[in-house]
């Protein structure tokens, strides 16, 4: 029995197909225009920082327990939502100059530096490729937000839907 | 190899089940014959485990703990001896 025969709640993550069905993943043309947020939260957890922090007023939260929904026409890709989500379930995606970019929250060691080489991991923890750190945004240590919000670049733009974690390798 | 239920008094699951089979089938008598829940931790680690075993064995639901009495945490005897009382 492969992992895909399990339900997300048994497996511990959503498959690409399941996310697509719920309209969680942004269409390619939007990603080519600008960076957009992707909220991979489909449970009714009482939580509202994403809706609260969104400056462009694009994340809509019907109530405390309903997940946030992004309007990709208005999202400015500021990544504030990536930094506040307590479940670390929000990411940003973009296709720029034919290359893919994914922004992930990061709270591990080693610290990411601009230009660092990283291993790219998908939702199941499988290494799907290698990338480079293009924008490591530092938050204060021990603050409410994840310590880093890291944007990595990958040669294959089709991988942006898959990459959800990084392993920093250094120079 | 042993499955320990009460770590303070080294009471295993087999011990508890044997005691229940021998007729000590309620928590008050069970704890007196086996020593379970009467050690230093006063049942913090083993009370619900023991009641679960009892409930499963007798096909009953869990109703109540044993009678809880002070002290619920270890206290040196010397601390209970007073020579002076200061009242505020």
């Amino acid at each position: 029995m492969s992992e895909l025969d399990l339900s997300p709640a048994q497996r511990g993550y959503y498959s690409l197909h399941e996310l697509d069905q719920e309209n969680i993943l942004p269409p390619e043309n939007k990603m080519r225009e600008r960076r957009v947020a992707v909220i991979e939260c489909m449970e009714d957890i009482p939580c509202n920082p994403c809706g609260f922090v969104c400056r462009a007023n694009t994340i809509r939260k019907e109530s405390l327990c309903k997940p946030g929904v992004v309007d990709w026409d208005k999202c400015t890709g500021c990544t504030l939502c990536v930094s506040v989500c307590p479940g670390m379930a929000i990411f940003c995606q973009m296709i720029l100059d034919g290359k893919g970019q994914v922004t992930v929250p990061y709270e591990l060691l080693p610290d990411p530096k601009l230009g660092d080489s990283v291993e790219l991991l998908d939702r199941s923890g499988t290494v799907v490729g290698k990338g480079r750190v293009v924008r490591p945004t530092y938050q204060a240590k021990g603050d409410a937000h994840p310590r880093w919000v890291v944007t990595v670049e990958m040669d294959n733009p089709k991988m942006v839907d898959q990459v959800r974690a990084i392993r920093v390798l250094g120079e | 190899m042993k499955q320990i239920v009460c770590t303070c008094h080294d009471v295993t699951k087999e011990d508890i089940e044997a005691a229940i089979d021998a007729g000590y089938d309620d928590i008050e008598t069970l704890k007196r014959i086996t020593g379970v829940t009467t050690g230093q931790c006063q049942g913090k680690r083993c009370m619900v485990l023991t009641l679960n075993i009892l409930a499963n064995k007798k096909s009953l639901s869990i109703e109540e703990t044993t009678k809880i009495r002070a002290p619920i945490d270890p206290i040196p005897l010397g601390a209970l001896v007073t020579t002076e009382n200061i009242t505020h």
Partner: protein, 537 residues
């Protein structure tokens, strides 16, 4: 020389204090002044702290917060000290409480010293009983009195017993207790709050993950930051007296006295008009072969070692349980650079915690193995592996499906039991409610369990830190109202917090809790207590 301390962490900076030296059975060990004895010994690679009373099985660090008594050692001549609570001191002498019978451990473990058998041994003929007992006592190894009195502080011999009166006594300074003290302290003139640990905050102090809930309350905050905020707010309040290192040992309703133990082995007796019990919970554990081996820890114990003392519990861990605590602690281990082999749980319908927590660990490569449970811990003096087995639809082990997982510690995260013991001394009506974690008191809408006592937080039902804060605030306000303080603005606050609690419990994760909480509260707590007294339950 082994050093298991963490020197680089992505979130925390550990304030260990100054370097000091302590001695274990004469051997010097590096320690730091803010560490407890158990933490310092653990950091030096010590895993066996004591031997058990009957079979002399090795025991070690388990709960880490003074609840299980597995870590008791002789400290500076005083026997049976809870080393996970006692702080180190430069030059301290720690000894393992040994007895000659420890050498018989392998032999003893083969025997089955059933209490059913030996409790009747030597009772006939009667004259054998006394000498037999004297010999048996040599076997126990549970500490001995010092040969001379240098171990004791002779000044402390002139023991004093302090007695305090107050309007409101709050036992337990976790999120619920602290919030209650803050609310009640703003209204009433005299509040006392106590906690058995040397710092306030309860379990918050070791929680480094961000909380959910509403931004108005705690969303996005890390637990330990919330603890700092609450403590800071409290320390500015002149109406609140705070006692750390003070353990509530008993409550006597007929005299209305709470008896507490202080660290210098003196007692404190407090008489209050009203009490709030917010003592939290005890970790559940599992029964399987060798479940008492050093290396088998509660998830909370691992969190304490990791996040409070900055010490690695091991190199490769196995996590049992898929609730939020297990998933979060697995993530904490990742952050500390420790390998987690797998997360194992019998459930097959779903991972019990939030999927976002599960996703966090899955994307870093930690597998989740459902439909399995642990049957054995492997190792002699400490864990070096675990045996797991697959379960069928009836949760029974399927034969021939056992396999060994290589690991050097096993973390058991299978839930919490509300702390029922101090509560029961007030003689409320207790009920067993599995959805709330275990035994909880029946209470009314004002959180009262008896005429003079209230409950808040996990000890009233296992939930979250955010609900504990709200329940604490509510019980603090109700207690202050019952003492004659407060006005309409208090009633407004009560409405606001009750609404927030309702919102927080609106999700499917809280369905079971909501159902249970709808069934328990009663209209008239006095009537319930009268019936309790009448039926003698």
């Amino acid at each position: 020389m082994e050093d298991w301390r963490i020197y680089e962490h992505p979130i925390l900076e550990f304030d260990r204090g100054n370097e000091v030296t302590i001695y274990l059975d004469g051997k010097p060990m590096k320690a730091y002044s803010n560490e407890t004895v158990a933490a310092a010994l653990y950091a030096n690679g010590v895993r066996v702290f004591s031997k058990s009373i009957k079979y002399h099985r090795p025991r070690g660090f388990f709960c880490g917060i003074g609840r299980c008594s597995a870590c008791m050692m002789e400290v500076d001549g005083v026997p049976n000290v809870k080393t996970c609570v006692a702080r180190v001191r430069d030059g301290m002498h720690v000894k393992m409480q040994k007895t000659f019978a420890d050498r018989l451990t392998p032999f003893l473990n083969m025997m089955n010293l059933s209490p059913m058998v030996y409790i009747k041994m030597f009772t006939k003929p009667g004259f054998l009983y006394e000498p037999a007992m004297k010999i048996m006592r040599q076997f126990t190894g549970k500490g001995s009195f010092p040969k001379d009195s240098t171990g004791y502080n002779s000044e402390a011999r002139a023991k004093t017993q302090e007695e305090i009166s107050t309007e409101l006594l709050i036992v337990g300074a976790g999120p619920a207790g602290l919030s209650a003290a803050i609310e009640a302290g703003q209204l009433s003139k005299d509040v006392v709050i106590v906690d058995d640990k040397d710092r306030f905050g309860g379990q918050l102090i070791k929680q480094t993950h961000m909380f959910f809930s509403d931004v108005k309350y705690a969303a996005g905050k890390r637990g330990y930051k919330l603890a700092n905020e609450l403590v800071k707010k409290l320390s500015g309040m002149k109406t609140v007296r705070a006692f750390t290192n003070t353990t509530a040992v008993g409550y006597y309703p007929s005299e209305n006295i709470m008896l507490l133990l202080r660290p210098d082995n003196t007692t404190l007796r407090i008489r209050a008009k009203k009490y709030i019990v917010s003592t939290g919970a005890y970790e559940k554990t599992l029964v399987f072969e060798n479940n008492d081996l050093p290396g088998v820890y509660g998830a909370g114990g691992v969190q304490t070692l990791l996040n409070v003392y900055g010490i690695k519990p091991g190199k490769m861990g196995l996590m049992i349980g898929t609730g939020n605590v297990s998933l979060i602690v697995a993530y904490h281990l990742l952050q500390a650079g420790i390998d987690v082999k797998a997360i194992v749980a019998p459930s097959f319908r779903r991972v019990r915690g939030y999927l976002v927590h599960a996703a966090k660990v899955r994307r870093h490569g930690i597998p989740i193995i459902t439909r399995h449970t642990i049957v054995k811990a492997l190792g002699n003096e400490k864990v070096n592996g675990a045996v797991i087995t697959k379960l069928d639809d009836g949760y029974r082990p399927i034969p021939e499906t056992e396999r060994v997982i290589d690991c050097d510690f096993i973390c058991i995260g299978v839930g919490l039991n509300p702390a029922y013991d101090l509560i029961q001394l007030f003689n409320p009506k207790m009920v067993f409610v599995p959805q709330l974690g275990g035994f909880v008191p029946v209470r009314d809408k004002q959180f009262r369990i008896t005429e003079n006592a209230y409950v808040a937080g996990d000890c009233s039902g296992i939930e979250e830190a955010t609900t504990a804060v709200l329940e604490g605030r509510l019980s603090g306000l109700h207690a202050a109202l019952s003492l004659g303080y407060g006005d309409d603005s208090v009633l407004q606050k009560i409405d606001e917090y009750e609404w927030a609690l309702k919102e927080d419990r609106n999700s499917s994760f809280s369905t079971a809790i909501r159902t249970a909480l709808e069934a328990i509260p009663v209209e008239n707590i006095e009537e319930v207590i009268m019936n309790n007294v009448r039926t003698g339950s």
